[in-house]
Symmetry: C2
Subunit: 287 residues, 2 copies
Protein backbone atom coordinates (compact mmCIF):
# COMPACT_ATOMS: atom_id res chain seq x y z
CA UNK A 1 0.00 0.00 0.00
CA UNK A 2 3.03 2.29 0.01
CA UNK A 3 3.48 4.46 -3.05
CA UNK A 4 5.90 7.30 -3.67
CA UNK A 5 3.94 10.14 -5.28
CA UNK A 6 6.99 12.30 -5.84
CA UNK A 7 10.24 13.00 -4.03
CA UNK A 8 8.50 14.59 -1.08
CA UNK A 9 5.17 12.81 -0.54
CA UNK A 10 4.67 9.16 0.43
CA UNK A 11 1.26 7.48 0.41
CA UNK A 12 0.98 5.33 3.56
CA UNK A 13 -2.55 4.00 3.09
CA UNK A 14 -5.56 4.47 0.85
CA UNK A 15 -9.06 3.25 1.66
CA UNK A 16 -12.29 3.69 -0.28
CA UNK A 17 -14.86 5.68 1.72
CA UNK A 18 -18.21 6.93 0.39
CA UNK A 19 -16.93 6.39 -3.14
CA UNK A 20 -13.90 8.63 -2.53
CA UNK A 21 -10.39 7.97 -1.20
CA UNK A 22 -9.39 8.30 2.46
CA UNK A 23 -5.60 8.57 2.24
CA UNK A 24 -2.79 8.97 4.74
CA UNK A 25 0.53 10.48 3.68
CA UNK A 26 3.96 11.14 5.11
CA UNK A 27 6.39 13.85 4.07
CA UNK A 28 9.49 15.67 5.20
CA UNK A 29 8.45 19.13 6.34
CA UNK A 30 11.10 21.79 5.80
CA UNK A 31 9.20 24.28 7.94
CA UNK A 32 8.86 21.91 10.91
CA UNK A 33 12.19 20.15 10.29
CA UNK A 34 10.69 16.71 10.85
CA UNK A 35 8.68 13.97 9.14
CA UNK A 36 4.94 14.66 9.28
CA UNK A 37 1.86 12.55 8.62
CA UNK A 38 -1.46 13.91 7.46
CA UNK A 39 -4.71 12.58 5.98
CA UNK A 40 -6.70 13.67 2.95
CA UNK A 41 -10.17 12.70 1.82
CA UNK A 42 -10.57 13.07 -1.92
CA UNK A 43 -14.22 12.98 -2.99
CA UNK A 44 -15.23 11.02 -6.11
CA UNK A 45 -15.46 14.28 -8.09
CA UNK A 46 -11.67 14.68 -7.78
CA UNK A 47 -11.27 11.91 -10.35
CA UNK A 48 -12.90 14.23 -12.90
CA UNK A 49 -11.64 17.73 -11.99
CA UNK A 50 -9.82 19.66 -9.23
CA UNK A 51 -11.92 20.28 -6.13
CA UNK A 52 -11.75 22.91 -3.36
CA UNK A 53 -10.54 21.90 0.10
CA UNK A 54 -11.61 22.25 3.70
CA UNK A 55 -8.69 22.25 6.14
CA UNK A 56 -9.57 20.69 9.49
CA UNK A 57 -7.39 21.57 12.50
CA UNK A 58 -7.73 19.18 15.42
CA UNK A 59 -7.55 19.80 19.13
CA UNK A 60 -5.18 18.93 21.97
CA UNK A 61 -3.79 15.36 21.93
CA UNK A 62 -5.19 14.65 18.46
CA UNK A 63 -3.47 13.46 15.30
CA UNK A 64 -4.69 13.41 11.71
CA UNK A 65 -6.80 10.35 12.62
CA UNK A 66 -9.42 11.70 15.04
CA UNK A 67 -11.45 13.70 12.55
CA UNK A 68 -10.93 11.07 9.84
CA UNK A 69 -12.43 8.28 11.92
CA UNK A 70 -15.00 9.99 14.16
CA UNK A 71 -16.62 13.02 12.51
CA UNK A 72 -18.51 11.35 9.68
CA UNK A 73 -17.56 14.25 7.38
CA UNK A 74 -16.69 12.13 4.34
CA UNK A 75 -20.35 11.40 3.59
CA UNK A 76 -21.17 15.07 3.05
CA UNK A 77 -17.81 15.90 1.44
CA UNK A 78 -18.40 13.11 -1.10
CA UNK A 79 -21.80 14.52 -1.92
CA UNK A 80 -20.56 18.11 -2.22
CA UNK A 81 -17.27 17.45 -4.01
CA UNK A 82 -15.05 18.86 -1.30
CA UNK A 83 -11.62 17.58 -0.27
CA UNK A 84 -10.85 17.31 3.46
CA UNK A 85 -7.29 18.05 4.61
CA UNK A 86 -6.43 16.71 8.07
CA UNK A 87 -2.99 17.76 9.39
CA UNK A 88 -1.38 16.65 12.64
CA UNK A 89 -1.48 18.98 15.66
CA UNK A 90 2.25 19.47 16.25
CA UNK A 91 5.64 18.48 14.90
CA UNK A 92 6.58 14.89 15.81
CA UNK A 93 9.45 12.47 15.83
CA UNK A 94 13.11 12.19 16.75
CA UNK A 95 14.68 15.44 17.82
CA UNK A 96 11.35 17.24 18.34
CA UNK A 97 11.22 18.44 21.96
CA UNK A 98 8.21 17.65 24.15
CA UNK A 99 7.01 19.00 27.47
CA UNK A 100 9.29 17.48 30.12
CA UNK A 101 6.39 16.52 32.35
CA UNK A 102 4.49 15.02 29.39
CA UNK A 103 1.62 17.50 29.69
CA UNK A 104 -1.29 16.99 27.27
CA UNK A 105 -1.63 20.74 26.68
CA UNK A 106 1.92 21.68 25.69
CA UNK A 107 4.49 20.16 23.33
CA UNK A 108 3.60 17.11 21.24
CA UNK A 109 -0.04 17.16 20.16
CA UNK A 110 -0.35 20.78 21.30
CA UNK A 111 1.35 23.03 18.76
CA UNK A 112 -1.35 25.72 19.07
CA UNK A 113 -0.78 26.72 15.40
CA UNK A 114 1.87 29.35 16.26
CA UNK A 115 5.44 29.97 15.12
CA UNK A 116 7.39 29.51 18.34
CA UNK A 117 10.13 32.00 19.12
CA UNK A 118 11.48 30.50 22.35
CA UNK A 119 14.21 27.92 22.88
CA UNK A 120 13.90 24.92 22.44
CA UNK A 121 10.58 25.19 20.59
CA UNK A 122 11.45 27.65 17.82
CA UNK A 123 13.25 25.08 15.65
CA UNK A 124 10.29 22.74 15.08
CA UNK A 125 7.10 24.29 16.47
CA UNK A 126 6.09 26.39 13.45
CA UNK A 127 2.60 25.06 12.81
CA UNK A 128 1.37 28.50 11.70
CA UNK A 129 3.64 28.51 8.65
CA UNK A 130 3.08 24.81 8.07
CA UNK A 131 -0.71 25.11 7.82
CA UNK A 132 -0.77 28.48 6.10
CA UNK A 133 1.86 27.90 3.44
CA UNK A 134 3.88 24.69 3.27
CA UNK A 135 1.04 22.18 3.37
CA UNK A 136 -1.27 23.96 0.87
CA UNK A 137 1.62 24.45 -1.57
CA UNK A 138 2.55 20.80 -1.34
CA UNK A 139 -1.02 19.55 -1.71
CA UNK A 140 -2.07 21.90 -4.49
CA UNK A 141 0.93 20.87 -6.57
CA UNK A 142 0.52 17.13 -5.95
CA UNK A 143 -3.26 16.56 -5.87
CA UNK A 144 -6.38 17.51 -7.86
CA UNK A 145 -7.13 20.56 -5.71
CA UNK A 146 -8.14 24.07 -6.70
CA UNK A 147 -6.72 27.02 -4.78
CA UNK A 148 -10.05 27.60 -3.04
CA UNK A 149 -9.71 26.81 0.66
CA UNK A 150 -11.96 26.91 3.69
CA UNK A 151 -10.86 26.14 7.25
CA UNK A 152 -12.44 24.65 10.36
CA UNK A 153 -11.35 23.01 13.57
CA UNK A 154 -12.13 21.93 17.11
CA UNK A 155 -11.03 23.46 20.43
CA UNK A 156 -7.29 24.28 19.98
CA UNK A 157 -7.95 23.65 16.28
CA UNK A 158 -10.96 25.95 16.36
CA UNK A 159 -8.60 28.64 17.67
CA UNK A 160 -6.20 27.79 14.84
CA UNK A 161 -8.88 27.92 12.14
CA UNK A 162 -10.37 31.26 13.21
CA UNK A 163 -6.98 32.86 13.89
CA UNK A 164 -5.40 31.76 10.59
CA UNK A 165 -8.41 32.99 8.61
CA UNK A 166 -8.65 36.30 10.48
CA UNK A 167 -4.95 37.06 10.01
CA UNK A 168 -4.83 36.23 6.32
CA UNK A 169 -7.61 37.95 4.39
CA UNK A 170 -8.47 36.10 1.19
CA UNK A 171 -6.46 32.98 2.06
CA UNK A 172 -9.61 31.11 3.16
CA UNK A 173 -13.06 31.86 1.75
CA UNK A 174 -14.77 30.95 5.03
CA UNK A 175 -13.91 29.78 8.53
CA UNK A 176 -15.78 27.79 11.17
CA UNK A 177 -15.11 26.21 14.50
CA UNK A 178 -16.46 23.80 17.10
CA UNK A 179 -15.77 24.75 20.73
CA UNK A 180 -12.90 27.10 19.82
CA UNK A 181 -10.46 28.69 22.26
CA UNK A 182 -11.44 32.18 21.11
CA UNK A 183 -9.33 34.25 23.47
CA UNK A 184 -6.19 32.24 24.32
CA UNK A 185 -4.46 35.28 25.85
CA UNK A 186 -7.07 35.12 28.61
CA UNK A 187 -7.41 31.41 29.44
CA UNK A 188 -5.09 28.90 31.14
CA UNK A 189 -4.53 26.69 28.04
CA UNK A 190 -3.58 29.70 25.91
CA UNK A 191 -1.48 31.41 28.55
CA UNK A 192 0.55 28.25 29.18
CA UNK A 193 1.08 27.63 25.47
CA UNK A 194 1.85 31.21 24.48
CA UNK A 195 4.23 31.88 27.37
CA UNK A 196 6.06 28.66 26.50
CA UNK A 197 6.19 29.07 22.73
CA UNK A 198 6.25 32.90 22.46
CA UNK A 199 7.79 34.09 25.74
CA UNK A 200 6.62 36.42 28.46
CA UNK A 201 5.97 39.51 26.30
CA UNK A 202 2.21 39.28 26.01
CA UNK A 203 2.03 41.78 23.16
CA UNK A 204 3.43 39.06 20.88
CA UNK A 205 0.54 36.80 21.85
CA UNK A 206 -2.19 39.02 20.43
CA UNK A 207 -1.44 38.19 16.80
CA UNK A 208 -2.53 34.62 17.60
CA UNK A 209 -5.76 35.50 19.44
CA UNK A 210 -9.08 35.59 17.52
CA UNK A 211 -10.80 37.99 19.90
CA UNK A 212 -7.81 40.36 19.75
CA UNK A 213 -7.68 40.10 15.95
CA UNK A 214 -11.35 41.04 15.62
CA UNK A 215 -10.92 43.89 18.11
CA UNK A 216 -8.00 45.13 16.00
CA UNK A 217 -10.11 45.33 12.86
CA UNK A 218 -9.56 42.01 11.06
CA UNK A 219 -11.10 41.86 7.59
CA UNK A 220 -14.50 40.14 7.80
CA UNK A 221 -15.13 36.75 6.23
CA UNK A 222 -18.03 34.27 6.56
CA UNK A 223 -17.66 32.77 10.02
CA UNK A 224 -19.63 30.05 11.83
CA UNK A 225 -19.09 28.80 15.40
CA UNK A 226 -20.88 26.03 17.32
CA UNK A 227 -20.45 25.72 21.07
CA UNK A 228 -22.10 23.12 23.30
CA UNK A 229 -23.64 24.39 26.53
CA UNK A 230 -22.63 21.21 28.43
CA UNK A 231 -18.97 21.62 27.46
CA UNK A 232 -16.88 21.30 30.64
CA UNK A 233 -14.28 23.70 29.21
CA UNK A 234 -16.69 26.48 28.27
CA UNK A 235 -16.35 28.79 31.25
CA UNK A 236 -12.64 28.48 32.02
CA UNK A 237 -11.03 27.91 28.61
CA UNK A 238 -13.34 28.62 25.68
CA UNK A 239 -15.17 31.81 26.74
CA UNK A 240 -17.40 32.02 23.67
CA UNK A 241 -19.10 35.13 25.08
CA UNK A 242 -15.89 37.09 24.48
CA UNK A 243 -16.08 36.31 20.76
CA UNK A 244 -19.72 37.38 20.67
CA UNK A 245 -18.90 40.65 22.43
CA UNK A 246 -15.92 41.41 20.17
CA UNK A 247 -18.04 40.76 17.07
CA UNK A 248 -20.80 43.01 18.40
CA UNK A 249 -18.43 45.83 19.33
CA UNK A 250 -16.70 45.73 15.94
CA UNK A 251 -19.87 45.09 13.95
CA UNK A 252 -18.18 41.92 12.68
CA UNK A 253 -20.81 39.59 11.23
CA UNK A 254 -20.58 35.99 12.49
CA UNK A 255 -22.99 33.15 13.21
CA UNK A 256 -22.22 31.93 16.74
CA UNK A 257 -24.55 29.24 18.03
CA UNK A 258 -24.90 27.71 21.48
CA UNK A 259 -26.08 24.11 21.11
CA UNK A 260 -28.05 23.06 24.21
CA UNK A 261 -26.81 19.96 26.02
CA UNK A 262 -23.83 19.17 23.79
CA UNK A 263 -20.38 18.55 25.26
CA UNK A 264 -16.78 18.87 23.96
CA UNK A 265 -16.61 15.46 22.25
CA UNK A 266 -16.67 14.16 18.70
CA UNK A 267 -20.33 13.22 19.28
CA UNK A 268 -20.93 16.99 19.20
CA UNK A 269 -18.80 17.49 16.09
CA UNK A 270 -20.50 14.60 14.28
CA UNK A 271 -23.91 16.09 15.08
CA UNK A 272 -23.17 19.40 13.34
CA UNK A 273 -20.40 18.70 10.83
CA UNK A 274 -22.90 18.50 7.97
CA UNK A 275 -24.07 22.03 8.77
CA UNK A 276 -20.45 23.28 8.70
CA UNK A 277 -19.61 21.54 5.41
CA UNK A 278 -22.70 22.98 3.73
CA UNK A 279 -21.78 26.43 5.06
CA UNK A 280 -18.30 26.18 3.54
CA UNK A 281 -19.62 24.62 0.31
CA UNK A 282 -21.65 27.74 -0.37
CA UNK A 283 -18.54 29.93 -0.13
CA UNK A 284 -16.40 27.45 -2.05
CA UNK A 285 -18.79 27.68 -4.98
CA UNK A 286 -20.20 24.17 -4.53
CA UNK A 287 -23.94 23.65 -4.92
Amino acid sequence: MTDRLDESLELLSSVVCFGGQQNQYQHRSAVLDCTMQFSVFLPPQAEQHPVPALYWLSGLTCTDQNFATKAGAQRVAAELGMALIMPDTSPRGEGVPDDEAGAYDFGLGAGFYVNATEVPWATHYRMYDYILTELPELLESAMPLTELRAISGHSMGGHGALMLALRNAGRFVSASAFSPIVNPCECPWGQKAFSGYLGSDETSWKAYDSVELIRSGATPLPLLVDQGTADNFLDEQLKTDRLITACEVMNFSAEIRYQPGYDHSYYFIASFIESHLRFHAKHLGLR
Copy 2:
Protein backbone atom coordinates in the same frame (compact mmCIF):
# COMPACT_ATOMS: atom_id res chain seq x y z
CA MET B 1 -22.13 11.45 35.49
CA THR B 2 -22.70 8.17 37.34
CA ASP B 3 -26.28 7.27 38.06
CA ARG B 4 -27.76 4.04 39.37
CA LEU B 5 -30.82 3.21 37.25
CA ASP B 6 -31.81 0.24 39.35
CA GLU B 7 -30.03 -2.43 41.32
CA SER B 8 -28.46 -3.93 38.23
CA LEU B 9 -27.70 -1.14 35.76
CA GLU B 10 -25.24 1.73 36.26
CA LEU B 11 -25.02 4.70 33.88
CA LEU B 12 -21.32 5.49 33.29
CA SER B 13 -21.70 8.38 30.84
CA SER B 14 -24.35 10.16 28.83
CA VAL B 15 -23.63 12.49 25.92
CA VAL B 16 -26.04 14.29 23.61
CA CYS B 17 -25.62 13.17 19.99
CA PHE B 18 -27.89 14.15 17.09
CA GLY B 19 -30.50 15.22 19.61
CA GLY B 20 -30.52 11.79 21.27
CA GLN B 21 -28.51 10.24 24.10
CA GLN B 22 -25.30 8.25 23.60
CA ASN B 23 -25.03 6.35 26.89
CA GLN B 24 -22.58 3.84 28.33
CA TYR B 25 -23.67 1.45 31.08
CA GLN B 26 -22.19 -1.17 33.34
CA HIS B 27 -23.95 -4.14 34.87
CA ARG B 28 -23.30 -7.44 36.54
CA SER B 29 -24.07 -10.19 34.05
CA ALA B 30 -25.34 -13.39 35.63
CA VAL B 31 -24.94 -15.30 32.37
CA LEU B 32 -21.31 -14.24 31.87
CA ASP B 33 -20.51 -14.13 35.60
CA CYS B 34 -18.65 -10.81 35.29
CA THR B 35 -19.20 -7.05 35.08
CA MET B 36 -20.00 -5.93 31.53
CA GLN B 37 -20.10 -2.57 29.81
CA PHE B 38 -22.28 -1.74 26.84
CA SER B 39 -23.47 1.36 24.98
CA VAL B 40 -26.95 2.44 23.92
CA PHE B 41 -28.02 5.23 21.61
CA LEU B 42 -31.53 6.42 22.43
CA PRO B 43 -33.00 8.55 19.64
CA PRO B 44 -34.97 11.70 20.52
CA GLN B 45 -38.25 9.85 19.87
CA ALA B 46 -37.54 7.65 22.93
CA GLU B 47 -38.46 10.61 25.13
CA GLN B 48 -42.01 10.34 23.76
CA HIS B 49 -42.61 6.61 23.34
CA PRO B 50 -40.82 3.24 23.30
CA VAL B 51 -38.73 2.62 20.20
CA PRO B 52 -37.51 -0.56 18.47
CA ALA B 53 -33.83 -1.51 18.69
CA LEU B 54 -31.03 -2.54 16.39
CA TYR B 55 -28.44 -4.75 18.10
CA TRP B 56 -24.93 -4.23 16.71
CA LEU B 57 -22.37 -7.01 17.27
CA SER B 58 -18.77 -5.91 16.81
CA GLY B 59 -15.79 -7.79 15.47
CA LEU B 60 -12.54 -9.17 16.86
CA THR B 61 -10.70 -6.89 19.33
CA CYS B 62 -13.62 -4.43 19.55
CA THR B 63 -15.56 -3.17 22.56
CA ASP B 64 -18.85 -1.29 22.74
CA GLN B 65 -16.99 1.84 21.65
CA ASN B 66 -15.92 1.12 18.06
CA PHE B 67 -19.34 1.29 16.45
CA ALA B 68 -20.40 4.13 18.75
CA THR B 69 -17.53 6.38 17.69
CA LYS B 70 -16.79 5.39 14.08
CA ALA B 71 -19.88 4.24 12.19
CA GLY B 72 -21.89 7.46 12.10
CA ALA B 73 -25.07 5.46 12.70
CA GLN B 74 -26.61 7.83 15.26
CA ARG B 75 -27.52 10.39 12.58
CA VAL B 76 -29.81 7.96 10.78
CA ALA B 77 -31.06 6.29 13.96
CA ALA B 78 -32.08 9.72 15.30
CA GLU B 79 -34.00 10.43 12.13
CA LEU B 80 -35.72 7.02 12.07
CA GLY B 81 -36.44 6.67 15.78
CA MET B 82 -34.37 3.54 16.29
CA ALA B 83 -32.33 2.65 19.38
CA LEU B 84 -28.83 1.23 18.85
CA ILE B 85 -27.60 -1.43 21.30
CA MET B 86 -23.83 -1.94 21.33
CA PRO B 87 -22.61 -4.84 23.51
CA ASP B 88 -19.02 -5.81 24.17
CA THR B 89 -17.47 -8.73 22.24
CA SER B 90 -16.58 -11.05 25.13
CA PRO B 91 -16.76 -11.35 28.89
CA ARG B 92 -14.15 -9.17 30.64
CA GLY B 93 -12.53 -8.50 33.97
CA GLU B 94 -11.00 -10.26 36.91
CA GLY B 95 -11.33 -14.03 36.79
CA VAL B 96 -12.26 -14.14 33.12
CA PRO B 97 -9.68 -16.32 31.33
CA ASP B 98 -7.89 -15.05 28.22
CA ASP B 99 -5.83 -16.75 25.58
CA GLU B 100 -2.45 -17.48 27.15
CA ALA B 101 -0.52 -16.13 24.18
CA GLY B 102 -2.70 -13.00 24.09
CA ALA B 103 -4.06 -13.80 20.62
CA TYR B 104 -6.39 -11.21 19.11
CA ASP B 105 -8.70 -13.89 17.71
CA PHE B 106 -9.43 -15.97 20.83
CA GLY B 107 -10.37 -15.10 24.41
CA LEU B 108 -10.92 -11.47 25.40
CA GLY B 109 -12.47 -9.46 22.58
CA ALA B 110 -13.20 -12.65 20.67
CA GLY B 111 -16.18 -14.41 22.24
CA PHE B 112 -17.59 -15.46 18.85
CA TYR B 113 -21.15 -15.28 20.27
CA VAL B 114 -21.19 -18.93 21.36
CA ASN B 115 -21.91 -20.69 24.65
CA ALA B 116 -18.57 -22.33 25.41
CA THR B 117 -18.62 -25.91 26.65
CA GLU B 118 -14.89 -26.43 27.23
CA VAL B 119 -12.79 -25.76 30.34
CA PRO B 120 -11.84 -23.01 31.26
CA TRP B 121 -14.12 -21.07 28.90
CA ALA B 122 -17.52 -22.52 29.77
CA THR B 123 -17.93 -20.49 32.98
CA HIS B 124 -17.83 -17.03 31.40
CA TYR B 125 -17.84 -17.30 27.61
CA ARG B 126 -21.60 -17.50 27.05
CA MET B 127 -22.11 -14.57 24.68
CA TYR B 128 -24.87 -16.44 22.80
CA ASP B 129 -27.18 -16.44 25.82
CA TYR B 130 -26.06 -12.95 26.82
CA ILE B 131 -27.01 -11.37 23.48
CA LEU B 132 -30.09 -13.49 22.86
CA THR B 133 -31.71 -13.30 26.28
CA GLU B 134 -30.06 -11.56 29.22
CA LEU B 135 -29.26 -8.24 27.57
CA PRO B 136 -32.64 -7.74 25.81
CA GLU B 137 -34.54 -8.63 28.98
CA LEU B 138 -32.49 -6.17 30.99
CA LEU B 139 -32.82 -3.37 28.43
CA GLU B 140 -36.49 -3.85 27.65
CA SER B 141 -37.34 -3.66 31.35
CA ALA B 142 -35.14 -0.62 32.06
CA MET B 143 -35.41 1.56 28.93
CA PRO B 144 -38.07 2.91 26.58
CA LEU B 145 -37.73 0.02 24.12
CA THR B 146 -40.38 -2.02 22.37
CA GLU B 147 -39.84 -5.76 21.92
CA LEU B 148 -39.13 -5.31 18.22
CA ARG B 149 -35.49 -6.09 17.51
CA ALA B 150 -33.23 -6.19 14.47
CA ILE B 151 -29.61 -7.30 14.46
CA SER B 152 -26.47 -6.43 12.54
CA GLY B 153 -22.73 -6.71 12.96
CA HIS B 154 -19.27 -6.70 11.44
CA SER B 155 -16.91 -9.62 10.73
CA MET B 156 -17.09 -11.87 13.86
CA GLY B 157 -20.11 -9.75 14.78
CA GLY B 158 -21.60 -10.28 11.33
CA HIS B 159 -21.33 -14.01 12.00
CA GLY B 160 -23.01 -13.45 15.35
CA ALA B 161 -25.85 -11.38 13.90
CA LEU B 162 -26.70 -13.78 11.08
CA MET B 163 -26.30 -16.88 13.24
CA LEU B 164 -28.41 -15.57 16.14
CA ALA B 165 -31.20 -14.49 13.78
CA LEU B 166 -31.14 -17.73 11.77
CA ARG B 167 -31.31 -19.90 14.91
CA ASN B 168 -34.14 -17.99 16.57
CA ALA B 169 -37.04 -17.44 14.21
CA GLY B 170 -39.10 -14.41 15.22
CA ARG B 171 -36.59 -13.11 17.72
CA PHE B 172 -35.27 -10.52 15.25
CA VAL B 173 -37.40 -9.04 12.47
CA SER B 174 -34.40 -8.65 10.17
CA ALA B 175 -30.65 -9.31 10.11
CA SER B 176 -27.75 -7.74 8.26
CA ALA B 177 -23.99 -7.91 8.25
CA PHE B 178 -20.83 -6.23 7.02
CA SER B 179 -17.99 -8.58 6.04
CA PRO B 180 -19.42 -11.51 8.05
CA ILE B 181 -17.65 -14.79 8.78
CA VAL B 182 -20.41 -16.78 7.12
CA ASN B 183 -18.98 -20.28 7.43
CA PRO B 184 -16.82 -20.36 10.58
CA CYS B 185 -16.60 -24.18 10.50
CA GLU B 186 -14.56 -23.81 7.32
CA CYS B 187 -12.16 -20.91 8.01
CA PRO B 188 -9.14 -20.51 10.33
CA TRP B 189 -10.72 -17.91 12.66
CA GLY B 190 -13.83 -20.06 13.18
CA GLN B 191 -11.98 -23.34 13.50
CA LYS B 192 -9.65 -21.92 16.14
CA ALA B 193 -12.50 -20.36 18.11
CA PHE B 194 -14.89 -23.30 17.87
CA SER B 195 -12.31 -25.95 18.73
CA GLY B 196 -11.28 -23.86 21.74
CA TYR B 197 -14.75 -22.97 23.01
CA LEU B 198 -16.73 -26.01 21.81
CA GLY B 199 -14.17 -28.80 21.63
CA SER B 200 -13.06 -31.13 18.87
CA ASP B 201 -16.47 -32.59 17.97
CA GLU B 202 -17.22 -30.57 14.86
CA THR B 203 -20.89 -31.53 14.80
CA SER B 204 -21.40 -29.18 17.76
CA TRP B 205 -19.99 -26.33 15.68
CA LYS B 206 -22.68 -26.41 13.04
CA ALA B 207 -25.36 -24.81 15.22
CA TYR B 208 -23.18 -21.66 15.22
CA ASP B 209 -22.49 -21.54 11.48
CA SER B 210 -24.75 -19.41 9.22
CA VAL B 211 -24.06 -21.41 6.06
CA GLU B 212 -24.80 -24.65 7.90
CA LEU B 213 -27.97 -23.20 9.41
CA ILE B 214 -29.29 -22.15 6.01
CA ARG B 215 -28.36 -25.54 4.54
CA SER B 216 -30.31 -27.16 7.38
CA GLY B 217 -33.47 -25.26 6.56
CA ALA B 218 -33.42 -22.18 8.79
CA THR B 219 -36.63 -20.14 8.70
CA PRO B 220 -36.19 -17.24 6.25
CA LEU B 221 -36.08 -13.64 7.43
CA PRO B 222 -35.12 -10.40 5.65
CA LEU B 223 -31.36 -10.54 5.27
CA LEU B 224 -28.83 -8.03 3.89
CA VAL B 225 -25.04 -8.50 3.57
CA ASP B 226 -22.38 -6.07 2.31
CA GLN B 227 -18.89 -7.32 1.51
CA GLY B 228 -16.01 -5.21 0.20
CA THR B 229 -14.04 -6.67 -2.69
CA ALA B 230 -10.75 -5.20 -1.38
CA ASP B 231 -11.20 -6.88 2.02
CA ASN B 232 -7.95 -8.70 2.86
CA PHE B 233 -9.89 -11.36 4.80
CA LEU B 234 -12.38 -12.19 2.05
CA ASP B 235 -10.79 -15.27 0.50
CA GLU B 236 -9.39 -17.00 3.59
CA GLN B 237 -11.85 -16.10 6.36
CA LEU B 238 -15.09 -14.59 5.10
CA LYS B 239 -15.94 -16.70 2.03
CA THR B 240 -19.06 -14.78 1.08
CA ASP B 241 -19.55 -17.02 -1.97
CA ARG B 242 -20.45 -19.90 0.36
CA LEU B 243 -23.37 -17.90 1.75
CA ILE B 244 -24.52 -17.04 -1.77
CA THR B 245 -24.37 -20.70 -2.79
CA ALA B 246 -26.20 -21.91 0.34
CA CYS B 247 -28.96 -19.35 -0.23
CA GLU B 248 -29.28 -20.36 -3.88
CA VAL B 249 -29.39 -24.08 -3.10
CA MET B 250 -32.02 -23.62 -0.40
CA ASN B 251 -33.97 -20.93 -2.26
CA PHE B 252 -33.34 -18.70 0.76
CA SER B 253 -33.95 -15.07 -0.22
CA ALA B 254 -31.14 -12.67 0.78
CA GLU B 255 -29.59 -9.50 -0.59
CA ILE B 256 -25.84 -10.09 -0.70
CA ARG B 257 -23.83 -7.24 -2.26
CA TYR B 258 -20.18 -7.04 -3.22
CA GLN B 259 -19.02 -3.42 -2.87
CA PRO B 260 -16.14 -2.72 -5.28
CA GLY B 261 -12.92 -1.41 -3.75
CA TYR B 262 -14.04 -1.37 -0.11
CA ASP B 263 -11.93 -2.97 2.61
CA HIS B 264 -12.63 -4.44 6.08
CA SER B 265 -12.51 -1.14 8.02
CA TYR B 266 -15.02 1.19 9.64
CA TYR B 267 -14.67 3.43 6.57
CA PHE B 268 -16.58 0.67 4.76
CA ILE B 269 -19.17 0.36 7.52
CA ALA B 270 -19.68 4.14 7.65
CA SER B 271 -20.22 4.22 3.89
CA PHE B 272 -23.15 1.77 3.98
CA ILE B 273 -24.58 1.93 7.50
CA GLU B 274 -27.38 4.25 6.38
CA SER B 275 -28.49 1.64 3.87
CA HIS B 276 -28.57 -1.04 6.61
CA LEU B 277 -30.48 1.13 9.08
CA ARG B 278 -33.11 1.98 6.46
CA PHE B 279 -33.40 -1.74 5.60
CA HIS B 280 -34.05 -2.61 9.24
CA ALA B 281 -36.36 0.39 9.75
CA LYS B 282 -38.72 -0.99 7.13
CA HIS B 283 -39.02 -4.28 9.00
CA LEU B 284 -39.21 -2.58 12.40
CA GLY B 285 -42.26 -0.65 11.24
CA LEU B 286 -40.47 2.71 11.08
CA ARG B 287 -41.19 4.99 8.14
